[in-house]
């Protein structure tokens, strides 16, 4: 099974309802987004004018570079399919679900290093600085989950439910009878990065000139060297505890100073 999202640009009118519904559903801070809408054009496509939209979100890729970039210590995780069959695999703080094909994050183990966000060619991840715990005081990575908690509760993703023209279609790409599979058959394509082969599962369908414009303007640059991203992130996560320690000492120092001042004041009062 591979969940996927089709965005039908023939239907999309660029209203941004998807972006705002997602913010409300998942309490996304105002300045970030798990999804987005960019207006493209009007520009010349060949001899024609074209203008369309890039409603973007996590692509839950077949080979997600974000997952490979996560430097968190791996743990064993067991996944269960509808028939009850289990698959156990070793995962870092973000992984591709072997059952439904979505890419998910365990925020409790996320280091907040941002390597995954840097590795994603689509900019589909961000670090939410409001989410902190003992593991990370720098925030936690966040992104579109294809609304798995809603889907598991029998609902459709929030963006799909609110879409005013039914331009967003969600389903199982592996099921040949699904609407999403029918769109793929009609030619819906994912925005594969230049020279990449990561298999994005959010796909676009539309008039030829609109699709041309979308791919012209929104195809991500070639994927960055994952090795170097990971190295940088690991370096950062090694440096961070030390930095945090220094900062905490600093705070302690400040608290100490206040305490000392208080004691002194108290002494003076006497």
């Amino acid at each position: 099974m591979q969940y996927g999202m089709i965005i039908d640009l023939e239907r999309c009118v660029g209203c941004h309802a998807c972006a705002i519904a997602c913010k409300a559903e998942w309490e996304v801070p105002a300045e970030f987004g798990r999804n987005w809408v960019h207006r493209l054009g009007p520009s010349k496509v060949g001899k024609e004018l074209a203008s369309t939209y890039y409603p973007g979100l996590c692509n839950h890729c077949a080979k997600p570079p974000c997952v490979d970039a996560c430097p968190a210590d791996p743990v064993e995780m067991t996944f269960k399919d509808a028939a009850g069959k289990t698959i156990t695999k070793s995962v870092a703080a973000t992984w591709k679900d072997p059952v439904n094909g979505t890419v998910q994050i365990d925020k409790s183990r996320c280091l907040g290093c941002g390597a995954c966000a840097e590795a994603c060619p689509y900019g589909a991840r961000y670090v939410n600085p409001a989410l902190v715990d003992d593991v990370s005081s720098d925030g936690k990575a966040d992104k579109c989950t294809y609304c798995m908690p809603r889907v598991e509760a029998g609902l459709v993703p929030a963006c799909v439910q609110t879409c005013i023209t039914n331009a967003r279609i969600f389903g199982d790409l592996d099921d040949p009878k699904s609407d999403v599979a029918a769109y793929v058959k009609k030619g819906a394509k994912g925005l594969e990065p230049k020279g990449g082969n990561i298999g994005p599962n959010s796909r676009y369908y539309g008039k030829k000139k609109d699709i041309t414009l979308l791919f012209q303007e929104s195809t991500p640059a070639a994927i960055a060297d994952l090795g170097s991203i990971k190295r940088r992130a690991m370096m950062a996560s090694m440096v961070k505890p030390a930095m945090r320690k220094a900062r905490d000492l600093g705070l302690l120092g400040l608290a100490g100073a206040i305490l000392v001042k208080g004691l002194t004041d108290e002494k003076n009062d006497k």
């Binding site: 009118v13 660029g14 209203c15 941004h16 705002i20 519904a21 809603r150 509760a153 609109d210």
Partner: protein, 746 residues
């Protein structure tokens, strides 16, 4: 003049058949899942509260709220809705952030500084109401009821507007929705067909959808867009006339890149072509129109070539569109438009649209103009009283100055009277939900009006640019916190239902109001008591008002609430033509009033050398300036880049993202700057920006100063001669960059 146009006729709201059905089941019980500190919980387990009715714009989609521990987490379309279904637009979704906007008005405020440069002091409701009541009473005692002018807007403004108009007795009421927006459309169609057209074109079933300037997609009303998309997906051809490659133009089959202001010439040429070539609906014209001969003679000069030259478009394209319409008639949707107060020649253009619809036989047919019939409701409000026309500024002795004015008094008549004191003094001003600083052209003139007043009061949910001019500023409960407005419309439960279903959706609060916000019935009644009108008060509470209005439908707030927030009942066919339906192709009444009886094109002022015409329109995520401070919507579109033709930009050395300001042909400079959007999708003689940006009020901490206020550059005033409504697209600008003024090359 027997042009008896009631406000009610204007307000006949109706919705188009909605295609969507609920996608999701509503989970109404707490699941008992404990909140994880890192993982947002989603709204699936939150309590569903029914009865919401959106007012982020004025289409009024039906909502449910997802409430957690008394806090509204999310808004969704009501699954029971046969109008918007479970869909709501970006603005509808962002209602949560209006509700909890930290900048919202919380307490009654008194301006202890100057008008326009306020210093606010929190006061009690008692003091605020005493002040409003005594100051307004003093104006009435000294100058008569006509000494009060009212600028209302939105659902909550209807009750106070009726109070001041009917009970106090002033004619000086100017609704922006009429005089700066759609009033001309409604007046022109009423004069042509006897019906206010709303936007009830059956796009879902059209073979051709014909839009003049309507930028659907940038202008979003959910059920309307659903019908539009259903039509397009079913193969309707889309024709869009717009100087700009709008969101709708981008979906069009034929884009008519028309020269601004010439639309009427274009329509006349299409109609003349249909008449001359016998391609009009002769049967419809014979049975349902009057004045065909005079009409066809009057438009006879409009050859394809003449219009092609005037409109700066190919003659062959005009012919192509005319043929397309003729071939697909009568199943063609000639859209009446919405905001139509453009050039000061707009009544005639709207008449032309109504006449074109008739030539195509496209009234009361599938895919044409039709008339959805919502349920009849009551009219409970302040009792109408006769006040005569002695102090009606639109009357000169017995003759109307603007014979086809929408209800109320044309704005410019009120402003001129207020500033000059002639023919009488206007000394009190009530602004309720409207932002006249950013809806009415010429801000300096608006300021002069406020400065001429003895007393100005504003009621709103948010600080806006006009609230800076209030002496007393009152905080209103928002549409999510009060009962109110009833949306009555029609839709289909199943797409293939033979007849539509009527729905009645009275607004119910989703959460309780916070701070000291009050509703319009409380505020108006308290002021009325202080002005000596206690005995005239029609209802004590907003709930009572709504329940009385619901009475004819034999339902109550309680019954509708129990029924999921929406009452459904069988409807009737929207295609049934009334027996007396007649289209006045030539209107003798208009001719008798001294205006052209057949649709007539009047050229507008050309673009002066070195300038570009300033065009403006809707941003899909904003309702004018009302939503600029909404942090979610602000994040989506924080400013309004100015569209500049790519060849013009190249000559000026401007590139995408450059920062520019503006100066208009009357020397008025923009207060702020914006960025340039370089595109081949706009004519060389025009620039375009989204309306509703560049707010000046520092209390709007998220929105203040972002983008450019197009309204500040609209200083030249055009008046539509038949209606007295404003035209706002006859202003011309140059760009400024780094202190230099850039001449727009020809």
């Amino acid at each position: 003049m027997a042009f008896n146009l009631t406000r009610r006729k204007f307000l006949q709201t109706a919705s188009l058949a909605a295609a969507a059905l609920p996608l999701a089941k509503v989970v109404s019980a707490e699941t008992g899942v404990t909140k994880a500190s890192l993982e947002p919980k989603g709204t699936m387990g939150d309590t569903t509260v029914v009865g919401g009715l959106c007012e982020m714009c004025f289409w009024r989609c039906q909502l449910v709220g997802k409430v957690r521990d008394g806090q509204l987490m999310k808004l969704e379309g009501n699954p029971k809705s046969i109008d918007n279904g479970t869909s709501i637009c970006a603005r509808g979704n962002a209602g949560v952030k209006l509700l909890y906007d930290v900048d919202r008005l919380k307490y009654p405020l008194k301006n202890v500084g100057k008008r326009g440069e306020p210093v606010w002091k929190r006061i009690s409701w008692q003091e605020a109401l005493d002040e409003c009541g005594s100051k307004l009473k003093a104006v009435v005692d000294q100058h008569g009821p006509q000494g009060i002018c009212v600028f209302p807007h939105g659902a909550s403004a209807k009750y106070p507007m009726h109070y001041f108009e009917r009970t106090v007795g002033t004619h000086n009421v100017s609704e922006a929705s009429f005089f700066q927006c759609r009033g001309i459309r409604d007046a022109a169609y009423v004069a042509t067909t006897g019906k206010a057209p709303n936007e009830t074109v059956d796009m879902a079933n059209s073979k051709v959808i014909f839009l003049i300037g309507s930028h659907l997609g940038e202008n979003i009303h959910v059920s309307h867009i659903k019908a539009y998309m259903k039509g397009l997906q079913s193969g309707a051809k889309l024709v869009v006339a717009d100087p700009r490659y709008s969101a709708a133009a981008a979906k069009s089959d034929i884009w008519v890149q028309i020269k601004p202001g010439t639309d009427t010439a274009y329509l006349l040429a299409i109609m003349n072509y249909l008449v001359k070539n016998n391609k009009y609906d002769k049967d419809f014209v014979a049975k349902h129109t009057a004045g065909f001969d005079k009409f066809s003679e009057a438009i006879g000069e409009w050859s394809l070539d003449k219009a092609a030259k005037e409109c700066d478009i190919p003659a062959a394209q005009i012919k192509e569109v005319a043929e397309l319409l003729a071939k697909n008639a009568p199943n063609v949707a000639i859209h009446p438009g919405r905001h139509v107060s453009w050039y000061g020649n707009d009544f005639q253009r709207e008449r032309a649209l109504a006449c074109l619809t008739a030539l195509l036989g496209a009234y009361y047919v599938k895919g044409g103009w039709f008339e959805p019939k919502p349920a009849k409701l009551g009219k409970t409000s302040w009792a109408p009283q006769e006040h005569g026309n002695e102090h009606n500024l639109n009357f000169n002795k017995d003759k109307q100055v603007y014979p086809f004015s929408p209800p109320g008094t044309p704005t410019e008549l009120i402003r001129d009277c207020a500033i000059s004191g002639k023919p009488y003094a206007i000394k009190g001003c009530v602004v309720w939900g409207q932002n006249p600083m950013q809806t009415i052209p010429n801000q300096e003139k608006m300021k002069a009006v406020f400065n001429a007043m003895d007393f100005v009061m504003c009621v709103d949910v948010m600080p806006t640019d006009v609230t800076m001019w209030a002496d007393i500023l009152l905080p209103e409960s928002s549409y999510l916190e009060r009962h109110d407005e009833i949306k009555a419309g029609t839709g289909k439960i199943k797409a293939d239902d033979p007849l539509p279903t009527q729905f009645i959706a009275p607004r119910m609060p989703l959460v309780a109001p916070m701070f000291e916000r009050k509703d319009q019935v409380y505020i108006t009644n308290e002021i009325a008591k202080r002005m000596g009108h206690e005995k005239d008060i029609p209802v004590q509470t907003l709930e009572e008002l709504v329940d009385k209005t619901l009475e004819p439908a034999k339902i109550t707030l309680a019954s509708v609430k129990a029924d999921g927030g929406i009452h459904l009942q069988p409807g009737t066919s929207p295609y049934a033509m009334p027996e007396d339906f007649k289209v006045q192709l030539f209107n003798d009444e208009i001719a008798a009033a001294g205006h052209p009886g057949a649709p007539t094109y009047k050229a507008v002022e050309g673009v002066p050398k070195g300038y570009a015409r300033l065009l403006y329109g809707r941003a899909p995520v904003h309702t004018f300036n009302r939503s600029q401070n909404n942090v979610w919507l602000n994040h989506e579109m924080p400013d309004n880049p100015v569209w500049l033709n790519d060849e013009v930009a190249a000559k000026l050395g401007l590139k995408n993202g450059d920062t520019v300001g503006f100066i208009n042909s009357e020397g008025v400079k923009s207060r702020t700057t914006t960025t340039v959007k370089v595109t081949p999708g706009i004519r060389r003689d025009s620039v375009y920006m989204y309306h509703g940006y560049g707010s000046a009020n520092p209390l709007m901490t998220a929105g203040v100063g972002k983008g450019v206020d197009d309204q500040s550059l609209i200083t030249k005033i055009a008046i539509d001669p038949e209606t007295g409504c404003h035209g706002m697209r006859n202003n011309f600008v140059k760009l400024t960059k780094d202190g230099k003024t850039l001449d727009i090359p020809a």
